[in-house]
């Protein structure tokens, strides 16, 4: 078959940013998958609650302090997260480096509060179905914090390496920031569910 060139693409940028980036869309798709998982875990919680004669089953409502502290911390972390996304867009290496170090610390800090959240539930996973679902919900969210933390640490190393100053890496940084927003956003309904629904 003959080919006739009807379109010249030589002037296109060699890498897409934002919605022209494939990884941006991939991240979105994975967020949809995991978001469905989070939503279903809440549905399971509510389903079990609807069956129970009283709720929480055989336990007092969870202590508010660690969970609320973690929620506050996550919300605060959104500010530097927003900034790092902006710096990545500006391709400002020095600021992105600083931002990544801060975000790494902000990924570690919630883990300390999370460790306190499990005992604050006053129930163990193997006592009853209520214990099972709250542990699984906390666990599910913790794996997401951990995943993003590892990703942030790797990106931090990358940005301090010779591979750092590159539009592709800045794209990775902003996708990672988007993912952290997701980790924070999914926590909010889970927080309401875990800590406030038992108090209704």
């Amino acid at each position: 078959m003959n080919r006739s060139v009807v379109l010249d693409l030589s002037k296109l940028p060699p890498h897409g940013l934002g919605t022209a980036s494939l990884t941006w869309w991939g991240t979105l798709a994975f967020m949809l998958i995991e978001g469905t998982g989070f939503a279903l875990s809440i549905v399971v919680y509510l389903y079990l609650m609807s069956l129970a004669p009283h709720w929480p089953l055989d336990a007092p409502p969870p202590d508010l302090l660690p969970g609320s502290g973690l929620t506050a911390l996550l919300i605060v972390s959104l500010l530097p997260n927003m900034l790092i996304a902006r710096w990545a867009r500006q391709q400002n290496l020095a600021k992105v480096r600083i931002g990544l170090v801060i975000m790494s610390l902000l990924g570690v800090a919630p883990l300390f509060l999370r460790v306190l959240e499990f005992p604050a539930m006053h129930i163990s996973w193997d006592q009853n179905a209520y214990g099972s679902i709250v542990w699984v919900m906390l666990g599910l969210h913790t794996t997401h914090i951990l995943t993003d933390l590892v990703e942030t640490l790797v990106l931090t190393c990358l940005m301090f390496s010779k591979h750092g100053d590159n539009p592709r890496r800045y794209g990775d940084v902003s996708d990672n920031a988007m993912y952290w927003n997701f980790v924070v956003a999914t926590w909010l309904p889970m927080y309401v569910c875990l800590y406030w629904i038992p108090r209704l």
Binding site: L7, K11, Y47, D126
Partner: protein, 637 residues
């Protein structure tokens, strides 16, 4: 060392066709040898592997089916004992659904979608490699467990409490649950790749209303996978936790609930049927268009029907639980929605019939399978509307009527189109034609064998024969029909055998296929058979729904791409306007290491929860190896 040209960043516009092919081959080829095979990210090589593997699982599942038919051929037969029979029907169902039907549809998409949208590789090609290895590992896990008498024996939907810690001692149910994790991870990965490939990598000009129907069907299917599969992942994880660390999700004594399992399973399980069926619909549309020599009647209606089916698929799951005793209003709702889904299905059938009516059908083998599909699927749809009514379902629930129904839907609705699709795309994939004579015989044997095998099962079911029984007494009025069914199954098996013989023989020595043997109009036929590693030397530019039919002598293409790195075009979602040239990741062994590390973690975690902690270390290392830039032109812009 290849000496790079003086010109930094060489573009295809500077090269003639011969030079261009040489340069692109250098950039895109998979090296020969074992290492090359293990590290390739070419969607065609991976897609082919996926297809072969899925068909091997089809054959294995078929052998199990024959074993069941042997055992049931006469009353009180002694070929297979009750325990082994439990494993066999569970293995057959699980294998057919999770290792054959879903993966084979995704496999076809992995191979075809990038070609049909006119790009050079699937989005996230390394994820694609990873997904294949995960799929293979999950399949091996299930079959090796079966070989050592630890195959799951709790039915393909593994209802609790039977599959829970109390009644299913040992590791059989865990094998089932963890096989789910493997196959769902791989299915989800492919779904993400397809979604991004379709949304962002279409050829310039391929606006939403110019997307081939098969590609549409795979896009909708991928969204179904993304929204449905998390439910079964949660369910199977909860099951493993109940069994391993003593959680109580499904234990009513401690506030859990057995119906929770059914809800989660069928919230996935019903869409699963459409995950298998919608790609088949896309295949049928493609074949109908080609062999009637005209576009499918009602393109917009077809797309809307696909999307509607996808949405409705999530409102139907409870019809699998009618006998579980649910509130009356709930049942009415689910009956209504179950019947409503017949509307888009009927609409599509009418569009195909209209196309055939208006066109001049050419009755080649692929088209024969399409006709077989229509006949069988309509019967399956009719029994489907029957079992959607609660009183009727209560009667035939768990009988052979249901076995007959879902084989009509699954085999008629998916396997027939799939076989047609294999005959249709075989020349593209292998560069050789399959035999038309053997194809007709194959179709005849399979069509006859299928109906003779499965139609009588309706009657057996109405006569009260329960499913999942390993034998029955001679007093029961079932033995004549059972013998008839088992003999018919041999005809069916002969048809499949002939298909495999034809495929293997033709792949080795069939007549060479031209680029476009059927005179089809979609882009995969605009390149050589089989396609070169880079799919298209110059990426096509699309101006209509049928890019090859308007002016079949010349293909409009785009120029200006780099040949020094693997490069493709990113286009906008709606209109497919070019947005960027983008690099596509090169071959890498890390997806294999990542899959191996994940396999170790998942299998180990059947035995101890600590596997999740320790096993995640090698997984992380492998993933870092995967994503760390290696200084190639693809990594650094």
């Amino acid at each position: 060392m290849i000496v790079r040209d003086e010109v930094e960043d060489l573009r295809d516009t500077a090269l003639d066709e011969v030079q261009l092919d040489r340069r692109l081959s250098e950039t895109w080829s998979t090296p020969t040898g074992l290492w090359g095979a293990l590290s390739t990210v070419d969607h065609k090589i991976i897609g082919r592997r996926y297809i072969y593997t899925a068909f091997i699982f089809l054959a294995l599942g078929g052998i199990l089916a024959l074993a069941m038919r042997l055992q049931l051929s006469e009353p009180e037969a002694r070929f297979i004992g009750p325990d082994r029979y439990n494993q066999i029907f569970t293995m057959h169902g699980t294998n057919m659904m999770f290792l054959f039907a879903v993966p084979v549809m995704e496999a076809m998409a992995v191979y075809l979608v990038p070609l049909m949208v006119g790009t050079r590789n699937i989005a996230f090609p390394r994820l694609n490699a990873f997904s294949y290895w995960m799929y293979l590992a999950g399949g091996l896990l299930l079959w090796i467990a079966f070989a050592v008498d630890t195959g799951p024996d709790v039915g393909w939907f593994a209802y609790v409490p039977l599959s829970g810690p109390q009644y299913a001692a040992g590791k059989r149910a865990d094998i089932w649950a963890q096989m789910i994790t493997f196959t769902e991870v791989s299915a989800l990965a492919v779904a993400v790749e397809i979604v991004v490939t379709v949304l962002k990598q279409r050829a310039p000009g391929m606006s939403l209303d110019r997307i081939p129907l098969f590609v549409w069907s795979m896009l909708v299917t991928s969204f179904l996978i993304i929204l449905a599969m998390p439910a079964i992942m949660i369910a199977s994880t909860a099951l493993i936790l109940d069994r391993l660390v003593g959680t109580h999700f499904f234990n009513p004594a401690e506030g859990g609930d057995v119906l929770l399992w059914q809800h989660l399973f069928w919230f996935f399980g019903h869409p699963e049927v459409y995950i298998i069926f919608l790609p088949a619909v896309g295949m049928v549309s493609t074949i109908v268009a080609t062999f009637t020599r005209r576009p499918v009647f009602g393109y917009l209606a077809m797309v809307m029907a696909l999307v509607t089916t996808g949405v409705l698929a999530f409102g139907l799951w409870v019809h699998h639980m009618f006998v579980a005793g649910l509130p009356r209003l709930g049942e009415s709702f689910f009956t209504a929605s179950s019947m409503a889904i017949a509307i888009p299905a009927g609409l599509q059938i009418f569009c195909w019939l209209a196309t055939m009516w208006a066109g001049r059908p050419v009755f080649k083998t692929p088209f024969l399978f399409v006709i077989g599909f229509m006949v069988i699927f309509v019967i399956g749809g009719m029994t489907g509307v029957m079992v959607a009514s609660v009183p009727f379902d209560t009667q035939v629930h768990d009988t052979y009527f249901v076995v007959a129904h879902f084989h009509y839907v699954l085999v008629g609705g998916a396997v027939f189109p799939l076989l047609g699709a294999i005959y249709y795309w075989f020349p593209k994939i292998t560069g050789r034609m399959m035999s038309e004579t053997l194809g007709r015989w194959t179709f005849g044997l399979i069509f006859t064998g299928f109906n003779l095998t499965f139609f009588p099962m309706h009657i057996l079911g109405l006569q009260g024969m329960p499913r999942r029984i390993y034998t029955y007494q001679p007093e029961m009025p079932w033995s004549g029909l059972n013998m008839f069914i088992s003999l018919s199954a041999v005809i069916l098996a002969a048809g499949f055998l002939l298909f495999f013989i034809d495929a293997i023989r033709s792949a080795a020595s069939g007549p060479a296929a031209p680029d476009n043997p059927w005179g089809a109009s979609t882009l995969e036929w605009a390149t050589s058979s089989p396609p070169l590693p880079y799919n298209f030397a110059r990426l096509p530019v699309v101006g209509s729904l049928e890019p090859l039919s308007n002016n079949s002598e010349t293909l409009s293409v785009a120029g200006g791409l780099s040949v020094d790195r693997r490069e493709l075009i990113v286009t906008s979602v709606v209109e497919a306007l070019p947005e960027a040239r983008e690099s596509s990741p090169g071959n890498s062994i890390w997806p294999l290491w990542s899959a191996l590390a994940t396999t170790v973690l998942l299998i180990w975690s059947i035995f101890t929860p600590w596997a999740v902690v320790w096993g995640s270390i090698p997984v992380s290392i492998a993933l870092i190896g995967w994503f760390w830039p290696k200084g190639t032109p693809e990594d650094d812009t």
